[in-house]
């Protein structure tokens, strides 16, 4: 199963484009938050067609 690489994730979700929400407040992630969020997804399996993400 293919896994996410950091480069792929950065291309999909550039810094400044990802938000976090607490109740009604939505704000962009800080660069540190974004970097940690990206790192947390590296190595995770990509969805298989027709299994997840259909």
């Amino acid at each position: 199963m293919a896994e996410w690489t950091r480069d792929e994730l950065v291309a999909l979700y550039p810094d400044g484009t990802v938000n976090v929400q607490v109740d009604d407040e939505v704000r962009p992630m800080t660069t540190d938050e974004w970097s940690a969020w990206i790192d947390g997804q590296v190595g995770q399996p990509k969805p298989e067609p027709d299994v997840l993400g259909a």
């Binding site: 979700y13 938000n19 929400q21 009604d24 939505v26 027709d50 299994v51 997840l52 993400g53 259909a54």
Partner: protein, 179 residues
Amino acid sequence: MAFPYSAGDVLTAADLNQSSGLVHVKTQTIGTGVSSVTVTDAFSSTFDNYRVSIDGVASSAGTNMMIALGTSLTGSGYYGSFLYDNYAGPALGIARLVNASNLYLGALGVLSENFYKVEITNPFVSDRTGFATTSYGSSASGWSNGTNASSSSFTAFTIGGQSGTMTGGTIRVYGYNNG
């Protein structure tokens, strides 16, 4: 006054309180392009058991929806199993968590067809918290059960995808009357 009531009965606050079953606590709309949503003041001493309904959320990537108590998805002490079946294909699977940072709710796909019904036991009580979820998303039905093994008391919870961002949908929190 004992339930059921009859025509002409004069109901007191105590009568109304004891006859309430599932009580709405709060509703939260999910924003655009968010990695996680924290719902604060969801749990309190008023109720021991809760139902959280999540529907209409879409993901930027096919992934799984996760939940954790508190204000982030990076907790600890989550144990549980997630079983899923895809009606459109051969996929039938299981995922297990041992001392994980969060718990599965179900599949989270790119279409806004994902929904989750989450039963949460004792999130505010200083005891283990139990989770029982039925879900549907991305052609997959799912059943997830688990626990948070800490004895901490929580007033908030956080949901988010294992990857990608979420857009749209509604989170509703209800409390079960303790009786």
